[in-house]
Symmetry: C2
Subunit: 115 residues, 2 copies
């Protein structure tokens, strides 16, 4: 009766406070692409100050650095993910993919009568 | 390094639009408890008009009634879940419980290095 009925799952990590979710994950992907937090923020129509605050709050909540910054050079300062930042982003992306697959499978089990 | 790190999963059902989630689920539980949409809304500090709109929008998106209303009688009008409403609420509650269990198990697999 509702052929398009489907689950939408939002996945966030909390410590005492919220510390990781889809927004910071996208920002980190853009830092990898643009090699700069400022350019990453611009590509998302986000103020640099907001991007900086998001990263710093995540880092404080997690207890480790997500980004390293380089200064100077021909193209000015840049940014890159730390190894731990990359590991966390990889774990989050795998986790979201696996959990959404399970969510789809469970949905067919539990909501079959409504589809 | 983050012993309290844990996932927080929000689970909603969409058709073309959002049509079921934690808010309407709680409202339906309160209707069962209070046998009245007005009393259910009051118990959540929600305006009756808002509760009524939420239920009607869900019903329109799903294509079936969630509530039946009775009028008159000693205690005035009341409300109860339809069989389909009860079935949907049961399916949603089971789905959330099973998916959160799986989310916890997957989390230990993917984020072990961060715990």
């Amino acid at each position: 009766m509702n052929t398009n009925l489907h689950p939408v799952i939002s996945i966030r990590l909390f410590n005492d406070d919220k510390c990781f979710g889809p927004g910071i994950a996208q920002l980190l992907e853009r830092v990898k692409e643009h090699r700069s937090l400022r350019a990453a923020a611009q590509s998302m129509d986000m103020a640099y100050s907001k991007a900086w605050t998001i990263v710093r709050r995540c880092e404080a909540a997690l207890g480790f650095q997500l980004l390293v910054y380089t200064t100077g050079g021909k193209n000015g300062g840049g940014a890159a993910l730390t190894q731990e930042g990359q590991d966390l982003l990889d774990a989050y992306n795998r986790y979201c993919r696996r959990l959404r697959d399970q969510a789809d499978a469970l949905f067919r089990e539990e909501f079959g009568a409504f589809l």
